[in-house]
């Protein structure tokens, strides 16, 4: 019996089909600024297709938003009055070329530092708002971020206003060493005073909210909202994997994971965010008792 019979095939030259343009391209060479790649579905998006919420039109995933883009979609038009506009960091640890690192971050982000704060109205309700920006050294918290957030909380306390903080940060800024760590205690203590004055604090956790920011003001909201799929957690995933020597489960440290474990009140999409914030601020405005 011939078990391994060799078959002979006739080879034909088939006409090649026109190759479809792959939707997933690793390193596309396209003119700068016209197309962006979605981190979620990996598809290329024509920039003009994207609306002011910076949501992928193909999969609904969020692109990272700058502080000013966020202020534009959250604060009532013309209502935002910025605090501490010019504040810049010194170099508390003497980190090599820190001034150059800061300068680069400024060029990249168009910001002086990693957070913008001010007073505004949200659907007619007065509030103090602080918005972190991951484009500036991954939103890391050094002296300026800590000080601006603390001052905005203190302003809110003295004006008896609610505060809304949009968090986006990898954590404490390593280049400012222990002084960065102290910002965690400073911001948390300011929130304690705000809370004892009976005032409302809403956190909106955006991608990413990790490290020292998750372990201080981000986790202290009376109400904690998260954006879909935002990474939220304390320890870095590589550090955890290195410690426990196993792969992390799918969806670990995502907003949905935090909702499931009870650390987030509600996941809200960007186009609903202003409405939800407005309604929550309204509930706490002290106006409108029973008719």
């Amino acid at each position: 019996m011939r078990l391994f019979k060799k078959k002979n095939y006739i080879m034909l030259d088939r006409p090649k089909k026109e190759e479809p343009i792959p939707e997933e391209i690793e390193n596309p060479s396209i003119p700068d600024g016209m197309w962006v790649k979605c981190d979620h579905c990996k598809k290329l998006i024509y920039k003009e297709e994207m609306n002011e919420f910076k949501v992928c039109p193909k999969c609904g995933g969020n692109f990272r938003m700058s502080a000013w883009e966020r202020i534009a979609v959250i604060c009532d038009e013309g209502s935002f009055m910025e605090y501490d506009k010019g504040m810049v960091s010194k170099d508390p640890m003497g980190y090599p070329e820190y001034d150059k690192i800061i300068e680069k971050a400024r060029e990249k982000s168009g910001l002086k530092e990693g957070v913008i704060s001010g007073r505004c109205k949200i659907n007619g309700h007065d509030a103090v708002v602080s918005v972190m920006d991951s484009n500036f050294m991954m939103g890391s918290m050094g002296s300026v971020v800590g000080e601006k957030i603390t001052r905005s909380i203190e302003h809110a306390t003295s004006m008896k206003l609610p505060i809304v903080i949009f968090t986006a940060s990898g954590g404490a800024r390593m280049q400012e060493g222990i002084i960065s760590l102290m910002q965690m205690a400073k911001t948390s203590a300011a929130l304690k005073k705000h809370s004892e004055a009976g005032l409302l604090y809403i956190t909106v956790m955006t991608d990413p909210t990790t490290g020292g920011v998750s372990a201080s003001f981000a986790s202290l909201g009376d109400i904690i909202i998260a954006e879909p799929k935002a990474t939220i957690g304390f320890a870095g995933q590589r550090v955890i994997e290195g410690t426990i020597n196993e792969k992390l489960p799918e969806g670990f440290q995502k907003a949905e994971f935090q909702l499931e474990h009870g650390f987030v009140d509600k996941i809200v999409t960007r186009n609903e965010m202003k409405e939800v914030l407005g309604t929550l601020l309204g509930f706490h405005s002290g106006k409108g008792g029973l008719q």
């Binding site: 640890m93 002084i179 760590l181 986790s219 320890a235 410690t243």
Partner: protein, 268 residues
């Protein structure tokens, strides 16, 4: 004065006394209390009530093991959220009964694990910082060995922070720092020097108020030398802190942390 890497090596030395050793030597009649009342009793944090020269005090310490086996059960002194929640429960208990609080810090940082994240490591640390700002009883923290990251700060947000001569305190371990900023953990000695982690560095910028000396022959060879100083210093300092009104105590605690930050107002 030894350089930062030497201090780091001493702070981490396996023969260095642990928090429980300090507790046994400094205080009398220590009764350990367990559990956070939510989920678990984290063995990386010990706490309870003891007598300091006749006065009841609440004592909390991050506990490394004295053997490999014990170290595994205490996760080498890296607390889970349950440890921070236990510490906070004991601090609130101290407030209720008017006892002062002593915390002993010796940790490379909060534990990075799946369970820790599922139970809200970030929230647990944040809650400690937030609540400590309002606890109406004096709190003194002593860095007896390593102090790393938010996992150390969570238990050191009170009125006074002291450090042993060969203790250290940093935003992150020098290995982690070198790994994040330079992608090279082997440059940790360089990182340690740059990071200003020693007691002598930290007293300059106000992160700590007091350096507690260790005997020249090494702390493990003359432990009493250091613990006697700690006991006397605690007695004196608590007397001073109890003389302050509760409101002023909290306001001074607020200012203690409010002052940190180096920036220019700049121009718009």
């Amino acid at each position: 004065m030894s350089n930062a890497s030497e201090v780091l090596a001493k702070a981490r030395k396996v023969t260095r006394p642990t928090s429980l050793d300090f507790i046994e030597e400094i205080f009398d009649d220590f009764i350990e209390l367990h559990g956070d009342r939510y989920f678990a009793d984290d063995k990386a944090v010990v706490g309870g009530i003891a007598s300091l020269n006749g006065m009841a005090v609440t004592v909390i310490g991050v506990q490394k093991g004295r053997s490999l086996e014990e170290n595994v059960s205490r996760r080498f002194g890296s607390p889970n959220p349950d440890g921070y929640r236990k510490a906070l429960r004991l601090m609130k208990q101290a407030e209720k009964f008017g006892r002062p609080v002593v915390t002993l810090i010796n940790t490379s940082g909060a534990y990075p694990g799946i369970g820790a994240e599922e139970r809200g490591q970030g929230e647990a640390i944040a809650r400690c910082l937030f609540e400590t700002a309002g606890i109406k009883t004096p709190i003194i923290s002593i860095f007896v060995g390593e102090g790393g990251s938010g996992g150390a700060l969570a238990l050191a947000a009170g009125d006074r922070v002291w450090m042993l001569e060969n203790g250290m305190y940093a935003v992150l371990s020098p290995e982690g720092f070198a790994s994040i900023l330079w992608r090279n953990p082997s440059r940790s000695a360089e990182a340690a020097d740059l990071m200003k982690i020693t007691a002598h560095d930290l007293i300059k910028n106000g992160v700590i108020e007091k350096i507690i000396p260790e005997a020249p022959e090494g702390i493990e060879n003359n432990f009493k030398f250091t613990t006697d100083i700690i006991r006397d210093s605690l007695i004196k300092e608590f007397k001073l802190l109890f003389a302050i009104s509760k409101e002023d105590l909290l306001e001074q605690r607020y200012e203690r942390f409010r002052k940190f930050g180096e920036f220019d107002e700049g121009t718009c």
